[in-house]
Point group: C2
Chain length 191, copies 2
Amino acid sequence: MEKQTVDSPLGLAIIGLLSIRPMSGYDLRKIFLTTGMKAFSASPGAIYPALRRLEKDGRIEGTVERKTTLRPRMVFTLSQKGRAAFVESLTRPVKREDVVRRMDNLLLRFSFMSELVGVDKIADFLRAFSTETEGYLRELEAEIREYAPGLSFSGRAALKQGIDSFRANARWARKTLAELKEHHPKKGGKK
Amino acid sequence: MEKQTVDSPLGLAIIGLLSIRPMSGYDLRKIFLTTGMKAFSASPGAIYPALRRLEKDGRIEGTVERKTTLRPRMVFTLSQKGRAAFVESLTRPVKREDVVRRMDNLLLRFSFMSELVGVDKIADFLRAFSTETEGYLRELEAEIREYAPGLSFSGRAALKQGIDSFRANARWARKTLAELKEHHPKKGGKK
DNA sequence: TGCAGCATGTAACCTGTTACATGATTAG
DNA sequence: CTAATCATGTAACAGGTTACATGCTGCA
């Protein structure tokens, strides 16, 4: 079987944006610099090598605009293979470890789902997201009950911040699932 | 002047833990594996090289227990220099960019503050944290107002998640600042 | 003409991941 | 004795950071 390509956060973000429309490296940079995707690196030293990796892997294709000059503008398009692999990666099961160590990756996956997978898959994602988040939340709550007395003021407060933050995520997932059901009632999704 | 040492997340976590008590690499691993610090790498391939870097830099000192055997146990202690540098790094100003791209680093810094800096510095930190978080929150809110119509269901929901999450952080900071004032009333801290 | 912004790239470096390897100690 | 756990490490690789470099384009 094909080797399991685990995307870097930046690679995944690029693929996701290209799934919306073809773009150049510079277009991607601007998005990372100016929108809510500021968490990703906008440095050319990260973006251009990432694009070349994805191209070598056959998941995107670059075509040169403005051929005549020495400074061409390359526009990248998601290939069929790339789109298929991306859809597959979007629907991978949500594990506890993803919630604990790769929350950013989960949210990134979610943000591109509507256009590429059915409503039922989105609902599955949100349900697993809730389950795992709430599970980890219980671990953290047990931990604070057990260790709180031994911790310093700021140590304890930092732990509470973690709990608050996972709690906000769990709430978000439940609310979003409810909205999803409201806007796409009853019968299954498009895929 | 000394070169500005920017710590890797793992390096900072290790220094912080060693500021509480001396430990071996294996002790650190266990903490990263079993406590709320799961977000850090517990792999030997990350921890042992990090310890060696910090030692070479003179910020920690390793002493061998159980000298006789081929598999020694090394216990690392924070040096005076290491402690001073750590305190300095804890009190560095909180910038907008820290909130946007290095939230984890900020929370890590905060978690070790009580034992090393005065109450007034902790309060400064929380105030700057609130200010910057709320500032970024307003940026995100402007963004969702402007772009929401053009976004897909999941794209919009992902943006909302970001807003929820920063909002939770802002609330946490204000609540924590209030608790701090309650428990350490009026007159300045120890440093 | 000159400058700001468009657009792409490279090189050195740092750090983390994965996988592998090794020996020591202790409980059953 | 032997398995689990303690304890430390290395090598190959991947990906991001910072700093630098270069050329094109439109406009004042």
